[in-house]
């Protein structure tokens, strides 16, 4: 074999390795970003941007928090991989709670992602937990055991309450009025998940003047929980 031939073979080998390396990476563990984006009427909600307009009147949001858990990756409706169950408390006033990285093992092919909003009934009856589930974080009722799954508070002139406040604390784990919800969205391997939370759509499903607050479990909480699950979807 002459030198020229060896050089040609070496070039081919290097090229093959260069082509193969990225292919190989696609079979290795992958990492995606999961980001929740609370927003109101097309604007992102943040500590610096919480004043909006709603039904032609000013509206100020002062709190938005909710629990999410259990990312599951599905292919043709079947779970192909799921995260270890862990609860995350999203808080629009703490932007670092709204995004995280998720590492998937190799060769996980999926077309949908499913997650839960709220805390399941077993956790609700099993005593005190730490971390994001610490009962002193303001997401646990004290007069009646159970987590608040979804909390939205603010002010609007549409409300005739003291200081024009509205407060929705959606929770309750006892059937038939359990409030934990499941949300499924389309996705594909390698895609980051950007999940919009369209809070104005939640308010539009109720009458802010006639129903400015709900802070107990029950049938209405269960109905509002269903509405709350419909406002989570991937950004258009």
């Amino acid at each position: 074999m002459n030198t020229k031939k060896l050089q040609e073979i070496s070039v081919l080998l290097v090229a093959a390795v260069l082509v193969w390396l990225p292919m190989g990476n696609s079979w290795a563990q992958s990492e995606i970003n999961v980001t929740y984006i609370p927003q109101f009427a097309g604007q992102k909600l943040s500590p610096k941007n919480s004043d909006f307009s709603y039904q032609k009147k000013p509206l100020k949001l002062s709190k938005f928090r909710c629990y999410v858990s259990g990312l599951e990756f599905l292919k043709n409706g079947k779970v192909v991989w799921k995260e270890e169950t862990r609860y995350f408390l999203l808080d629009a006033w703490k932007p670092n709670t709204l995004s995280r990285k998720v590492s998937l093992p190799p060769q996980v092919f999926y077309d949908q992602v499913r997650f839960q909003i709220g805390v399941d009934s077993l956790t609700n009856v099993s005593g005190a937990y730490g971390g994001d589930l610490d009962p002193t974080l303001g997401m646990y009722w004290t007069w009646n055991s159970g987590y608040i799954n979804f909390k939205l508070e603010g002010k609007s002139e549409l409300c005739t309450t003291r200081k024009n406040r509205f407060q929705y604390h959606i929770g309750g784990y006892l059937p038939p009025y359990s409030t934990a919800q499941s949300v499924t969205i389309k996705s594909a391997p390698g895609e980051n998940l950007e999940i919009g939370i369209y809070l104005d759509e939640f308010l539009s499903q109720l009458n802010l003047t006639e129903e400015p607050e709900l802070m107990i479990p029950g049938q209405r909480a269960s109905e509002l929980a269903t509405i709350s699950s419909q406002i989570f979807r991937t950004s258009p």
Partner: protein, 321 residues
């Protein structure tokens, strides 16, 4: 890294049913119990540092308060209920008179935050405890971290309360067959009356069936407390309250959820002559309990055998000195 503490078990009275907290009882921690005891007796948990858990739950009165019908809180505020006894809570299912609380771990949240009780903001409690010299050390000893969390605060209080087991009354000694202990004739007559008329709800050996009942009390219109219905929102639960244990009843007066009866004589008179009809009235009480005046005395004499002085004066449960 803190050394992992080895748990220990509390002896469970023979013949008692399984507790709701079996796993925890199998692995109690002396450091957590001691921390819980310190917290239980410390008014730092209240907004103005005047009210501790023990303000309404005094050991020598069966871990409830006497002297007044309704519980007192900060700033002289008065609640709507008589504080319940803290006895054998490991066997208790739903807690509070209306069953609002589903686990002993999270029970303390209610009195700490209620404006008519301790009135304190929960994160503020943690900040105050963290700012002391002693509590971070005690939390570290109990939980391996001196960073004080709500979870650890609540679990310590729960572990202490799980140790409040009363099982050495004369009734228990007779039941165990302890030598030299026997019911008198009158106590035995009272016991037979109890088994016939009371045991269905105040079921031995815990002297409660852990259920909710309307025991025929007319509603106090100054309080309008409808009991369990407040939690379940079901009219079927109107005027239902938790059946309390009768253990140490000699010292847990006044009686009923609103403390309306000051003595056992009035309680038994209510059951024999004062039952008020209501759609949710407990079926056992539809006709009242037929008790003669002699029966009522015999029954009272039996109820006094439920006093457990070892429990009421056990230094392990007392104010930490």
């Amino acid at each position: 890294m803190a050394k992992r503490e080895v748990g220990y078990q509390i002896p469970i009275p023979k013949g008692w049913p399984d507790s709701k907290y079996e796993a925890t009882l199998q692995n109690l921690s002396p450091a957590k119990i001691e921390l819980g005891r310190q917290l239980f007796y410390d008014p730092i948990l209240s907004k103005d540092s005047t009210i501790s858990c023990s303000s309404c739950h005094l050991q020598f009165t069966a871990f409830t308060h006497v002297d007044h019908d309704l519980s007192h809180g900060i700033d002289g505020r008065i609640g709507i209920r008589n504080s319940p006894v803290l006895i054998n809570l490991a066997w208790s299912d739903l807690l509070m008179w209306d069953g609002a609380i589903n686990h002993l771990d999270v029970q303390a949240l209610a009195p700490i935050s209620h404006p008519d009780e301790m009135g304190e903001d929960l994160p503020q409690v943690l900040t105050k405890l963290q700012g002391t010299r002693r509590y971070p050390q005690w939390f570290k000893k109990a939980f391996g971290s001196d960073s004080i969390t709500g979870e650890h605060l609540l679990k310590a209080l729960a572990q202490f309360q799980l140790t409040l087991i009363s099982a050495n009354s004369k009734y228990d000694q007779v039941r165990r067959g302890d030598s030299g202990v026997a019911f008198t004739d009158q106590e035995m007559k009272g016991y037979q009356l109890f088994q016939k008329h009371c045991n269905n709800c105040h079921t031995e050996p815990l002297f409660t069936n852990h259920q909710f009942r309307n025991n025929g009390l007319p509603v106090d219109t100054t309080l309008n407390d409808w009991g369990r219905m407040r939690i379940s929102q079901s009219p079927a639960d109107s005027l239902l309250f938790k059946v309390p244990t009768l253990r140490n009843i000699e010292f847990s007066y006044p009686y009923m959820h609103d403390g309306r009866f000051e003595n056992l004589y009035d309680v038994l008179k209510h059951y024999s002559k004062g039952i008020q009809a209501h759609p949710t009235l407990s079926p056992e009480l539809q006709e009242g309990i037929p008790l003669s005046s002699h029966d009522r005395i015999d029954l009272q004499v039996f109820l006094l055998t439920l006093t457990d002085k070892e429990f009421l004066f056990n230094p392990k449960h007392s104010f930490p000195r």
